[in-house]
Subunit: 225 residues, 2 copies
């Protein structure tokens, strides 16, 4: 089963270590960046489910980093900062942060706030089960069943299918899918999509040659129904 992925962007080694231990012990997959530039690149190369962002980065103003991320990154961002001024908090929240904790923070509270943020991922409730015909996806357990049989999906396959099931009936363009799953640097790589759509169809369709769930919208994208 694929773990939820959290990207920590913080320049203090000690803090990263602390977060890594706390997060991995709660069964999250953690990646780390020590500065803004690195963090943005990592987020773009493999979009995490949530970002923990320190505002006091050495190479760039944290608020600016947040603004940059929010031009394309739609998953939760939680700010961790020594700045406890009200105006900093308000600014960050209005720039699209989902939560703001001041350092030093309490670990269990942070973990609870991460759970809360991940639960509320905009749009579809992230704690429910999406059922669609013979398919059902448990977003909390991160599992997929076809006619009550568990299906084994890789992390990427799961993310892709989740995106489809959260947007049933809607045409999702190649660009949108690539941006959401692989990051904004991959919007040209439609071949990735073809390969993974093919793999998904093999796993979820009764007849992969006559797909009923993932419908091709030639020249535009795909639609799940």
């Amino acid at each position: 089963m694929s773990k939820e992925h959290i990207l920590v962007i913080d320049d203090e080694t000690q803090m990263r270590k602390l977060l890594e231990i706390a997060l991995t012990s709660h069964d999250y997959k953690v990646t780390e960046a020590a500065n803004a530039k690195e963090g943005i690149i990592m987020a773009a190369n493999h979009p995490p489910d949530l970002i923990l962002l320190d505002l006091g980065l050495p190479d760039e103003n944290g608020q600016e980093v947040l603004k940059k991320l929010r031009t394309w990154f739609n998953n939760p961002v939680i700010i961790l900062s020594v700045q406890k001024e009200e105006e900093d908090i308000v600014e960050a929240l209005d720039h699209g942060a989902n939560d703001y904790l001041t350092k030093p923070f309490r670990t269990n509270e942070l973990i609870a706030r991460i759970r809360t943020a991940l639960r509320n991922v905009s749009g579809v409730k992230n704690n429910s089960v999406i059922v669609c015909d013979d398919l059902s996806m448990d977003l909390a357990a991160r599992t997929v069943k076809r006619s009550n049989e568990l299906i084994k999906l890789t992390a990427t396959e799961y993310s892709l299918l989740a995106l489809f099931m959260k947007n049933e009936g809607r045409v999702l363009t190649h660009q949108f899918l690539l941006k959401e799953i692989w990051g904004p640097g991959y919007i040209e790589d439609t071949q990735y999509l073809r390969v993974f759509i093919g793999q998904l169809r093999k796993k979820i369709e009764v007849d992969p040659n006559r797909p009923k769930h993932i419908i091709t919208e030639s020249g535009v994208g795909y639609r799940f129904s």
Copy 2:
């Protein structure tokens, strides 16, 4: 635009007054309840967009109130409490609270956190659907239905039909249509239009030989009705 509605559940009169002033000045509609029982009834009778809930209510434990609310209330709940113990915060968040502020709090921060919580729920259901007789086009989903049956259109056919449906009743000249769909270099290629109008009619008209939707205006262009 209708104001967003916030329900304040708090037993302290002063606090309610303070919140009322702060919230109304930020253009929210505010209703108030002084205890748990009243609060739950008010939320049930007229569900607000967001609830501000004090945990220290006289008649019932705040965590229990939260649990009761969460059995049916899906909009954001923000906790305001004098309790600053980590375990209280974690418990409330895990019971479905969206945020937790300890009293005394800073007003602008609260307002910003309210904005953040409301941002996550709104905006998802802005489906602009154009309906025209038996035809309906969902611009967000990028789908077209004829008498509730999905119609399969190619990318060009869809763009053309969207242009028509957005300009219902208006005559669109050949030049305009060609420029919009194919680009300014194709103003001369009226044959393209004829081919695609023909294909569209086959798909959307009851009797393609007696078109009711796409009307030919000989020598000028076409009109959608």
